[in-house]
């Protein structure tokens, strides 16, 4: 008799499975979790801490916080940060002071580990929630983070 009870139990479990998928079929409109990505660009917002790419914020006067201490360059495991720096005489104090010429960031080599931002003593670089990083030319992934003509904000010690 177990032959027939096997058949009965088998069919019952199959129908149970079908009830799960059937339930979702009926509620298909409400349950859909698809993100229709390029259409929802306006509403799509990343979380604050999202690691998209490293940027260097500048204030309205085109000043930034980077002293050129190279902590980020040392901290980076992949060598994706290069800082070209120079020493310049500070006009107010008259002392020679380190000054960045170019803060080069290779996005193509970055693994988004966040060690550079941890290492930065002046919070000069931060994460930007930009996730659309695809480009047609690889060379555009090498970015210069400090804007042309920018300079370090006064009073940021190195």
């Amino acid at each position: 008799m177990s032959y027939f009870s096997d058949i009965y139990k088998g069919i019952k479990t199959l129908l149970t499975g079908m009830s799960v998928t059937g339930g979702y079929f009926i509620r298909a409109r409400k349950g859909a979790i698809t993100q229709q990505y390029p259409d929802n660009r306006e509403t799509l917002k990343m979380f604050d801490r999202f690691r998209g790419e490293v940027v260097m914020p500048h204030n309205a006067d085109n000043r930034h916080y980077c002293t050129g201490c190279q902590s980020c360059e040392i901290a980076c495991p992949n060598g994706s940060i290069e800082i070209i720096w120079d020493r310049a005489v500070d006009p107010t104090t008259g002392k020679k002071k380190k000054k960045i010429d170019k803060h080069i960031y290779h996005l193509s080599m970055c693994t988004m580990c966040g060690l550079c931002i941890e290492a930065c003593p002046t919070d000069a670089i931060v994460w930007a929630p930009n996730f659309e990083n695809s480009v047609y030319d690889r060379s555009t992934l090498t970015k210069i983070l400090n804007q042309p003509g920018s300079s370090v904000l006064d009073g940021i010690e190195d």
Partner: protein
């Protein structure tokens, strides 16, 4: 004609078949060279290295902080647990005691990682057996965990949230609420998983008695994690060598004795409940404390050898650090669970059908970067 003559006359020929490196059941780039007689598998020979990145060699040139983010890329489904293993080994070397807050947060995220990993495994297991819908249901729930990770750690998969001495930054204010929401919702979903797949008669037929691994073989082959526990080998590192906050939570080690594919399936399904219970015990009272112990900018481990074992979603991960006293390690070895688990595949896949091999592989839950490192 005698039987022997007849058998010689109708003798079949064995042939080779390449399963992978590009194959839907390979879950990546695992290449299995199968020797097959008809549809019956005679030998399984894994060929690895298709995504070997030599993480162990890279570790030898990096500083201790930098090693951590490499381990994200090993078993990417338990990246937080991998990070933690390295950090615990380094903390062992530095003799730092991290605060309770760090321990508890690490444990909660470990368990969330485990749930996320098991979710993915469940979906893929169904998919390998031909029930494609399970994949989407599992990913819907996994998405919530990924959101939690993204909000707190900044990344969904390769989180790199641990640093030697603690955590990179404190949890997000929404973390507790989101986790509770997830737990509440996920509790209603597991019975649904069971109704869809676990109770299904075809699923039973496909998995019961397939790929039986005995306890002795499991120990001898160094199998660990849910795969070993399905064979009755009590291998849970969280129980035997507790780390972080596992010594203060109450949870069961799921043990089965059948050792077949269905037992491995059940162990993981029941571990979901255990993970939920661990999170529930900890989430309401995360103690206050330092988020990061003070470490020097350049960490130098004393001369010696440091070994840390943790339980990832796939099994026991061991981190062996041999330090010569420099700022980078002399030798780092990752004892990855997948590598040892893979070695037993040939042993238990003799004289089974191709479909059985696929089911067995699905229940082992291989992550290929974990095997290749």
């Amino acid at each position: 004609m005698t039987d022997q003559q007849l058998q010689n006359k109708i003798k079949t020929e064995e042939y080779f078949i390449n399963m992978g490196p590009q194959h839907p059941a390979a879950h990546g780039v695992l290449r299995l060279i199968l020797t097959i007689d008809g549809e019956i598998i005679k030998n399984v020979e894994p060929d690895l290295g298709y995504i070997h990145r030599s993480i162990e060699k890279m570790c030898e040139r990096d500083s201790y902080q930098q090693i951590v983010h490499l381990t994200d890329r090993m078993d990417y489904l338990s990246s937080h647990i991998n990070n933690e293993a390295v950090c615990l080994a380094v903390e062992k070397g530095l003799e730092i005691e991290v605060s309770d807050r760090v321990k508890v947060i690490r444990t909660i995220i470990d368990e969330l990682t485990r749930i996320a990993s098991h979710c993915l495994w469940w979906g893929v297991m169904g998919m390998d057996l031909g029930a494609l819908t399970s994949y989407f249901y599992a990913f819907r729930d996994r998405e919530m965990i990924n959101d939690i990770f993204e909000e707190t750690c900044g990344a969904r998969l390769t989180m790199n949230y641990n640093v030697p001495g603690g955590l990179m930054f404190d949890i997000h204010p929404n973390f507790v609420k989101r986790t509770k929401d997830f737990i509440a919702q996920f509790k209603t979903k597991i019975p649904e998983y069971n109704r869809l797949l676990t109770d299904n008669v075809i699923f039973h037929k496909r998995t019961k008695g397939v790929g039986i691994l005995t306890r002795e073989d499991a120990i001898s082959f160094g199998v660990s994690g849910p795969t070993a526990r399905a064979s009755g080998f009590s291998s849970d590192v969280r129980k035997h060598h507790p780390y972080s906050a596992y010594d203060r939570v109450d949870f069961k080690e799921i043990l089965f004795t059948e050792g077949d594919t269905f037992a491995r399936y059940q162990v993981r399904m029941m571990e979901l409940w255990e993970s939920i219970s661990i999170i529930e015990q900890l989430i309401d009272n995360i103690p206050e404390g330092e988020i990061k112990a003070a470490t020097k900018a350049v960490i130098k481990l004393p001369k010696g050898e440091f070994y840390q074992r943790v339980e990832t979603a796939r099994g026991e991960l061991g981190v062996y650090i041999n330090s010569a006293g420099n700022k980078n390690p002399y030798r780092v070895k990752f004892r990855s669970p997948g590598f040892s688990n893979l070695s037993v595949l040939n042993h238990i896949s003799k004289d089974v059908l191709i479909g059985d091999l696929v089911a067995t592989m699905a229940s082992f839950d291989f992550v290929i970067p974990d095997i290749d490192r």
